[in-house]
Amino acid sequence: MFEAPVQKLIDELARLPGIGQKSAQRIAFHLLHVEETDARRLAEAVVEMRERVRLCARCFNVTDSEECSICRDLRRDPSAICVVERAQDVVVVERTHEFRGRYHVLGGAISPIEGVGPEQLRLRELIARIEPEGVTEVIVATNPTVEGDTTALYLARSLKPLGLTVTRLASGLPVGGDLDYADELTLGRALSGRREM
């Protein structure tokens, strides 16, 4: 056990994802030795983020106003929605500069084994956007896991009867990877999703 204030910080840090006791100690002692202004800036950033950031009323991306910057951007195409599991995924898809539509953050994926069904996700909210926004295409960008696949299948079943085009990100070989590392399922999907050159 360390002095109470130090131990308190270590305990808090150790609750963060991916940080164990050892890392928590290292970070705590690092913060003890840096300039006080640096430590204070970190604390303020945490507080400010929690005070100012909320979820976009339309797509549930993170934002500091009523709607996120993507939903407010008039140059974005409202007829296409890219559905992702988490807000972090919006940033990942944005970095490709390949998508000009809007997003919808589900807040997770269907996982029957964990008891997460469609009711626990923001599916109703997605369906409520279709008509008013004139959506014609939904691109499902859930993870290529059983949960992500199940969610994609469920979305296709719910949205296709509404006359929408529902597509899924092609899953295939990682760029820069070796073909002989690819597993059967990945390779099978890459084959069935092949394109003419």
Binding site: P17, G18, G20, I110, S111, P112, I113, E114, G115, V116, G117, P118, E119, Q120, P144, T145, V146, D149, T150, L153, Y154, R157, P174, G176, G177, Y181, A182, D183, E184, L185, T186, G188
Partner: protein
């Protein structure tokens, strides 16, 4: 360095640390195995999708103090068609949940493993049968020794007038033994359930739409009662 070979069907996984995943396998020889797959959440992981639920794999494990680490994986069966069909994936989810609930760690589980393997194969190869989940649940009950009495009164063994079903007594009851709380069964349901028990999962009898609904509800309640837990995979899709 202690390396060993094993095989199993992936039941589930959960994130562990930065990029690792704990993968729970059902091995016929060793029951439930909790293993660590390092770096599996990275897109370029050499394990790729091999350690996703439902996959039957052959693994090389490096024995650790708490958890064994997966060092090699090869796929025995990936059930690709199952994974492309929503209803089949949901049925497979229930199959996995049930064996996960009944199998133990460090204890052989040949029968549970075979049951799961047959269930997944039936989903993979044939069209989806409406009764596959209740049939599977009945067989799972048999594996854990809680099979409901269907052909003789659960209390006295008589075979006359078996039209009530008691969760606590463990099956059908005759008019002499029935308690107030026992369910009144629709005519034909007992025989229908017995038909499911007697058939192979890949060749179940034709579906009776009315009895099929009753069978699903009754079997689910029976299992939830005796396992003393709700089946989350079924509850998640109740809308």
């Amino acid at each position: 360095m202690a390396l060993r070979h094993d095989q199993g069907i992936v039941l589930r996984g959960y994130p562990f640390g930065e990029a690792d995943r704990v993968v729970v396998l059902l091995s016929p020889n060793h029951g439930k195995l909790r293993t660590v797959a390092k770096g599996v959440r990275k897109t370029k992981s050499r394990f790729g999708g091999r350690l996703e639920p439902f996959t039957h794999v052959d693994v090389v494990l490096y024995e650790g103090r708490n958890l064994d680490t997966v060092t090699q994986v090869s796929v025995i069966e990936a059930y690709p068609r199952l994974r492309g069909d929503l209803d089949k994936v949901l049925a497979a989810g229930t199959m996995v949940e049930v064996v996960d609930a009944v199998a133990q760690e460090n204890e052989g589980s040949h029968r549970a493993f075979l049951l799961l393997q047959r269930g997944l194969s039936a989903l993979e190869t044939g069209p989806l049968h409406d009764d596959i989940v209740p049939a599977y649940l009945l067989k799972a009950a048999e594996v854990v020794g809680i099979a409901p009495a269907l052909t003789a009164c659960a209390a006295c063994g008589s075979s006359d007038g078996l039209d009530r079903f008691s969760l606590s007594a463990g099956g059908v009851l005759c008019p002499q033994c029935r308690s107030g709380g026992a369910y009144a069964l629709r005519s034909g349901l007992v025989g229908y359930l017995a038909g499911l028990v007697a058939s192979d999962l890949s060749s179940l009898p034709p579906v009776d739409p009315v009895l099929s609904k009753d069978a699903a509800g009754l079997v689910r309640r029976f299992l939830e009662y005796h396992l003393d837990r709700l089946l989350a995979s079924l509850a998640a899709m109740d809308v």
